[in-house]
Amino acid sequence: MGVRSLRGEVAVVGIGETTYYKHSQSPDPEFVLALKAIIAAAEDAGIDPKSIDGFASYSNDRNEPSRIAAALGIPDLKFSNMQWGGGGGGGAGAVANAAAAIYAGLADCIVVYRALAQGQFARFGQGNVGSSVSGEVAFNAPYGVMSPAQKYGMRNQRFIHEHGVDRSALRAVSMASYHHAQSNPRAVMLGRPLTEEKYDESRWICEPYRLFDCCLENDGAAALILMSSDRAADMRHKPAYLLGAAIGSEYRNGAPCHNGPHYGTSSFTTVAPRLWQMSGLGPDDVDVVQSYENFSGAVVMSVVEHGFCAADEVNDFFQLENLIAPTGKMPLNTSGGNLAECYMHGLELQVEAVRQIRGDSTSQVPNTNVSLVMSGPMVTPTSNCVFGTADTL
């Protein structure tokens, strides 16, 4: 038996998205959003939704596969999977889980999906704690630390301190997302470009983060359909072949109360090397990058840990002209990302990565063969994956 690998075994053959709404503005209930995205992905692939036989999601999505399967009249359910933990860090993990299930013969046609109607439930940007708290929350909330910006800002701040990261690097990440959103009719921030002045003058949320460093809160849904590569060749669109994926985090990343030994990282220091090993690629092979911006400063860490630049080079590397399609040396978040397209917990980044492979992006990078996605940084477990054209197989 040779090396175990997913490289080239599975491809994305269909993508679907609902309209992306500002939080609480969806006219549809969350479950309807899920159904619409899944049906749209099936139509995009040119298949009957009833031929889906498996489901994979992440971030404690509320829309259970058995309910969806019953709702769609699916004849046979063969895979029902939740990437456990890590919130939005699980998007690529869900793709990896689906791919592994297809490769292993558990199912043939799996949809990876995420649906959010935040207004229907609690908002992420708030604390959402009770009057008494225990466990890890007890060590944070009584001191006023409750939101993701606060929990993760502490970790980002350590990296910023260790490597002398200038605010201009964070600003460049934000501006790249907003720049690309201006070409994307689906983007929530279409028509609302971000200038340096607007960024610099925006209010602090929690230092090191200003308003434009933080992802949006949105309603909507996205879905991707995966099949084995031999079937994918017959589908409607150019397949986006999965060349590699990895999941996880470093030693004791999950140690409670901010005690992870490798604290000033985005959790990718051990996960990125595994991706490169499976895919047989490196940062120089990558044409376009989608990097989950829960916070702009975390993108800086993700990019460093994937080897695109050294930690002490970030102030030079993170200049807007380096990050924008079509000419940047590392085009980043080409549909507007979590900051400016929508916050679909990063699944919209997977959809955009596939569009780049197909040549269909609103900010297309010419001659794209390799398209990388880094999922939610600073969480555990996180995940990443890389897609390629047929030429890369």
């Binding site: 225990s134 890890e136 007890a138 909330a141 009584p142 001191y143 502490m154 350590r158 230092e207």
Partner: protein, 148 residues
């Protein structure tokens, strides 16, 4: 036990031990102005946040050791946006992560007392202050101030 001045407004969640009692010794000791950190009874490894097992040698014999409430600032943040109704109108406040060099470099989170607009210096030494809260179920938080 009387209450002491509080850094943050009333109405924030109060800390309590888990149902299984894992961190109860820590919260109880703060009431008596004592800081306890976990230490493995077999291999002496320090451990934080509390856990049932030693991450180093996998012994379940975890003990609690009293340590000086002193340390160095490891990271920090200054919150502006109110994340809880009780914080509306409070203005900015500082949370820091304090590293305890004498307790295996474990880190604890607390507020940095004093002017909320003061510069926060990573590496600076801080001293702990116990902040007692009254009410039906009294509790104590461990806060920090720059060492003089």
């Amino acid at each position: 036990m009387s209450t002491s001045p509080h850094y943050l407004p009333a109405g924030l969640p109060r800390p309590t031990a888990e149902n299984d009692g894992l961190s109860k010794p820590y919260w109880d000791a703060l009431r008596g102005e004592q800081l306890l950190v976990q230490r493995c009874g077999e291999c002496q490894t320090w451990q934080w946040g509390p856990e049932w097992i030693c991450h180093q040698c996998l012994s379940f014999n975890m003990t609690w050791q009293a340590v000086e409430a002193q340390g160095r600032i490891y990271s920090w943040e200054r919150s502006h946006h109110p994340v809880h109704p009780a914080l509306k109108g409070r203005g900015a406040y500082i949370a820091i992560l304090v590293e305890l060099p004498h307790a295996g470099q474990v880190r604890m989170l607390g507020n940095l007392l004093g002017d909320a607009s003061q510069e926060v210096i990573i590496g600076a030494e801080v001293t702990g202050e116990y902040e007692h809260h009254g009410g039906e179920v009294p509790y104590t938080l461990l806060q920090w101030r720059y060492a003089s």
